[in-house]
């Protein structure tokens, strides 16, 4: 990834994490009937927080996908309600950050082209 400004880097990192977490939720939902399946979860917020606290660029933060091995061994630990909730939450967050990125790009456009 080339040099990008901080605002774009933040939008890119967050939108990427939203996409990864949404797909993990989709994957969990379609695997709700698989015997013994363990759900995926995605860690991002705390990674972003610690990266920003140590002065790193948000562009360097990658969402971390990991297995949630909770529940009895051999049992499927997908909760459909919580996966749909995650998906809806990602939908709203995506709305916020895509608007934020869009507004920022509009501002750049105006600055460059004067319209």
């Amino acid at each position: 990834m080339g040099e990008i400004d901080r605002e774009t880097a933040l939008s890119r990192a967050v939108l990427h994490a939203i996409e990864v977490r949404s797909k993990a939720a989709l994957h969990n939902i379609v695997n709700q009937d698989v015997p013994g399946y363990k759900r995926y979860q995605v860690r991002f917020e705390e990674l972003l927080r610690s990266a920003v606290a140590t002065g790193k660029s948000p562009a360097e933060v990658e969402p971390l996908v990991e297995r949630d091995t909770s529940g009895a061994p051999g049992s499927n630990n997908v909760s459909l309600v919580s996966e749909m909730g995650t998906l809806d939450k990602m939908h709203m967050l995506h709305e916020v950050f895509s608007r934020r990125a869009g507004a920022y790009f509009s501002t750049l456009n105006r600055a460059i082209f004067g319209r």
Partner: protein
């Protein structure tokens, strides 16, 4: 470039695999119900109830870092196998039946109509969940186009 989990439309493939798997499961239930009246005897077995086993699909080809994480999570779900119900066939005595064996026993299929109906409800619910997830994901892509694409 096929970076795992980065394809914009990949979410549709995941949901598509779920819808397809649930449909195959529904077809097996339909086959069970259609053959519920099948009869036989000890020489010639009647229809055996079938059920599907689902398995997770992981993209092994693109495991860049070799960890159990993002690089493998790409797949969805598939029907791993169709298994037969090995439980016993119900039998009844009806010597006049053309299917009866020499002692007069007739076997019927081991399909239980109530079990199949419950399965059908579960399939319907899973199918609805997949479709609901599809709508949300589609809304996200739509928002990308309208919010960023038009700026």
């Amino acid at each position: 470039m096929t970076e795992p989990l980065s394809g914009m439309f990949h979410g549709f493939d995941i949901i598509g695999s779920g819808l397809k798997a649930e449909q195959q499961r529904a077809e097996v239930v339909a086959a069970n119900l259609a053959n519920i009246a099948s009869t036989g005897n000890k020489h010639h077995e009647p229809y055996r109830r079938k059920s599907v086993v689902f398995a997770e699909v992981l993209d092994q080809a693109s495991s860049l870092h070799g960890i159990d994480g993002a690089d493998q999570l790409a797949g969805g779900v598939r029907v791993a196998k169709v298994v037969e119900d090995r439980s016993q066939f119900p039998k009844f005595m009806e010597p006049g039946n053309p299917q009866a064996d020499e002692d007069g026993w007739v076997w019927t299929s081991n399909v239980d109509v109530f079990k199949e109906l419950v399965d059908m409800s579960a399939i319907e619910r899973s199918h609805e969940a997949n479709l609901a997830a599809l709508r949300v994901y589609r809304g996200m892509l739509q928002a990308t186009v309208t919010n960023i694409g038009r700026s």
